[in-house]
Amino acid sequence: MQNFNWVTAYPEIVLLIMTCVITLVDLWVKSPMRTVTYVLTMLTLAVVAALEAYQATANGTVYGFGHMVVSDAMGNWLKCFASLAVMASLVYGRPYAADRYMLTGGEFFSLSMLSLLGMFIMISGNNFLVMYLGLELLTLSNYALVALRRDHGDATEAAMKYFVLGALASGLLLYGLSMMYGATGTLDLTAVFSAVASGHIKHQVLVLGLVFIVCGIAFKLGVAPFHMWVPDVYQGAPTAVTLLIAGAPKLAAFAMMMRLLVDGLLPLAIDWQQMMMVLAVVTLAVGNLSAIAQTNLKRMLAFSTIAQMGFVLIGMLSGVTNGNTLFGANAYSSAMFYMVSYVLTTLGIFGVILLLAREGFESEEITDFAGLNQRSPLYAGVMAICLFSLAGVPPMVGFFAKLSVLQALVASGQTSSLVLAVFAVLMSLVGAFYYLRVVKVMYFDAPLTAATVAAHTQVRVVLSLNGALVLLLGLMPGGLMTLCAQAVVQALGT
């Protein structure tokens, strides 16, 4: 095939080879904490992250494998962040997994790496089938990860729900993609863009395919009304796995949304933006209002995730106004910044939950966090910083994420945007309540046990760094914002 250009997939190749090597090496590993496997995995992920960062800063947009794979700044940065997120998830999750007999084999690490590989393929796919391949690799690995704790009823139930609903959603997405293929005659995203932009294709057919694609994407993001799997799966899965499916895959879902809707179907923007507006309103309302009633922290965070995705959608729907794409870069980069800061904050919160869960009980209920400030001010502080960030209170990074998205929305200049902006801030006020409730439990309630929180040094260092980063990026968000802006501009420019 022409333009083989395998360098574009170099990190994926490294990742795949090392996954196979680690799976084999793991057969001889005997330690209950799987130290050798763990160290090898972390090294691999670090090398892959470094490779992605290098590629992001070095080359421009490069196509490979016969135009089926694209390597551009946005994709490479998202892949780098996804790699770092999986690294952090493994650091936080390993002690938890060891306590619950999930490390009897090395599958925890191999499956995480395979799901990361799936994310990579999704993020850099420039072809419907390649993206779908990546998506399936990601989700199948995730189904297996959720079911890893096989003697636990909740986990198995969550895995079944995830699998059935996920398969249905993938089917919807595939149906939409096949309609698009039928209409445009090509699987290549750039060619699809040209075909749709040419105006020769019947609009109704395109919109039919588009609806199914948007539904599939909405499911993967966890957007209402396709959100029903999120609370059950987040709550039922072992917490270490909840982090693995709540953190990094969101970056991949965002990338898939960007590739399909912006790189491929931007001429249909008016249509999918309208769909997103409805989805955003519903998801903000459903997510925030349902979270109030929750007493289980993981379930509350699931609903909070659903609501946060509403803001990402608001960023996405502000791109095209009055037929021109002037605000596109602004809007999509704010959505990207929001997603990245959301993943960072999620890592911090679940890190603290995993830390508390080590003491032989599941720290899933909100009341389990009572008096954490008296037991350990450091971890209560990290948790509080992350919660305030999700609520959008300055000076954490979450505030600037919300600001970017609101600014993109208001910049479009229409009255409906202003109304949506007011609605969004009112919903985030509702959201502030349940985040504050957890802070209240940590700081104002008396502790149920006086035990201090013991932690591995690695976890302590990474978790403190995580919390510090949420605060520091809130004080100096410029660097990450510019990175996202430049990445999106480059992605749109081609």
Partner: protein
């Protein structure tokens, strides 16, 4: 590093250090370091007054650094005659409040002191910020330490109060956020306050912006009818928290009116001034009457705060130099007086663990030195000439009478209510025979409490007898603001 940055970050640095390294086993060291930090932060702010040029209306001590290039946000600080005294007030009150919490706070002392120091730095940031988003970040950042202070060290119903405080003020602020983002877009990508002040806007847009800002600032001031959070929060907060809340945090809202609503939407401000005057009068008269029937001392002083802040907004929206200067002076003096009142109640609460007026009677018999201070501050609260409370109220009432005779009469009548509720409380608590056994066993104030009350007494008397330093500083800036307000911004 510029002096304003120093003023902001010194207390924050001390606060963060205490949070990171302070331990309850070394509570004594923590307290002394906190006091040292507060004193250093106060000393750092003195050159602001010493080197201030009272003849210029321009911003002084200006610092400007790019902050977030993506949104053209700048770390832009500056002071003018309007904001100067608030910075000094903040750093002074922080010292007093640290001394006040010396013995009462025994648990997690480092977090208590750290929260107050960080809060102090952030509040100074609000008063110095000349970039819209920098102002908002500092404005909102005050919520977190205050929420924790109320919730951890507060009274029995503190959780309700903490949530009410946070969510109520957040609601208003979020609406202001939308307004700020709108201004950013309308001014083609700038958060600079100076640019916004000269941005032409249609009457309708100005009204919308005015009400968005009103939502945030009216809740903060607090104006009637969005004042209901204040009594609950003041009652439940610890003494130091109530003092800081009354003395400084309420002023953030009124300052916001001067920095944002008036310069950016002057036509709307003029158009809706009748509404603001009406709400201010209701606060002054109605809330004053509400204060008379209170049984809880802290709640009484809380309602009295709402009434005093009513004078402030009354002064602002008459748009005369005397009225506006009077409002600003009232803000400063109310800072001293209300802090002093809350600290006195705190002294009593530390001993008797009751805020009910009915629990007391004849305190002067067992605590004469303390009663002397308490009566002085009560007189200042009434507005006795020679004390701080008189200057601001007199200026505002004089301006009100000049503006509209009936307005002035109503405002002046409120001074009677002020005397009524304060003096009646003083009579029932301090004077008369000793009614309860516990009162007869009260011990008079120790050296620390004496020192803290003396500091405030000096401030109250000095402001009352010689208010010239205050008014001199703000004259030029106030006149400059008023000339700007009367120039219409509606594009022709």
């Amino acid at each position: 590093m510029g002096i304003l940055s120093l003023a902001i970050w010194t207390p924050i640095f001390f606060g963060v250090s205490l949070l990171a390294f302070g331990r309850d086993e070394h509570a004594k060291v923590v307290r002394w370091i906190a006091l040292l930090g507060a004193c250093i932060s106060f000393l750092v702010t003195w050159p602001l007054y010493a080197e201030f040029d009272t003849t210029s209306a321009a911003m002084q001590f200006v610092e400007s650094l790019p902050w977030v290039e993506r949104f053209n946000m700048h770390y832009h600080l500056g002071l003018d005659g309007i904001s100067l005294w608030f910075v000094l007030l903040t750093s002074f009150i922080t010292v007093v409040v640290i001394i006040a919490g010396w013995e009462a706070i025994g648990e997690r002392v480092n977090q208590y002191m750290g929260a107050f120091l960080i809060l102090s730095g952030v509040m100074i940031g609000v008063f110095c910020a000349l970039d819209g988003m920098l102002f908002y970040v500092f404005f909102e950042a005050t919520l977190i330490p205050m929420y924790l202070i109320i919730g951890v060290w507060g009274g029995p119903d503190r959780i309700y109060a903490a949530f009410k405080f946070f969510l109520y003020t957040l609601l208003g602020s979020l609406l202001m956020l939308v307004a700020l983002v709108y201004l950013y877009v309308a001014s083609n990508g700038s958060f600079d306050l100076h640019e916004w002040q000269h941005l032409p806007l249609t009457a309708q847009k100005q009204s919308l912006l005015f009400f968005a800002f009103f939502a945030a600032f009216a809740v903060k001031v607090p104006m009637w009818p969005v004042h209901t959070w204040l009594p609950d929060v003041h009652v439940q907060a610890p003494t130091g928290g109530s003092a800081v809340l009354a003395a400084i945090m309420l002023k953030l809202g009124a300052y916001g009116f001067l920095r944002f609503s008036l310069p950016i939407a002057p036509d709307a401000a003029l158009e809706w001034s009748w509404l603001m005057l009406a709400l201010s009068l209701i606060a002054v008269v109605y809330v004053g009457l509400v204060a008379v029937v209170q049984q809880d001392m802290k709640k009484l002083v809380a309602y009295s705060s709402v009434a005093h802040m009513g004078f402030v907004t009354l002064g602002f929206f008459m748009f005369t130099p005397l009225g506006m200067s009077g409002g600003i002076v009232q803000m400063i003096t109310h800072g001293f007086v209300s802090a002093a009142m809350f600290l006195c109640i705190g002294v009593l609460y530390d001993r008797m663990h009751s805020r009910e007026i009915a629990s007391y009677g004849g305190v002067v018999n067992t605590m004469p030195k303390f009663a002397a201070f308490a009566v002085l501050f009560a007189m200042a609260n009434c507005g006795l000439p020679g004390t701080a409370g008189f200057v601001g109220e007199w200026m505002v009432i004089l301006a009100a009478v000049k503006f509209n005779f009936w307005l002035g009469t109503l405002a002046a009548s409120a001074m009677v209510f002020g005397a009524a509720y304060t003096l009646w409380m003083v009579k029932r608590v301090y004077f008369g025979p000793v009614t309860h056994d516990k009162v007869s066993q009260l011990v008079d104030i120790n050296a620390r409490e004496f020192f803290m009350l003396a500091l405030l007494a000096v401030a109250v008397l000095w402001t009352g007898i010689y208010p010239k330093p205050f008014t001199d500083v703000m004259n030029v800036s106030v006149n400059h603001l008023l000339t700007h307000v009367f120039v219409s911004k509606i594009p022709q």
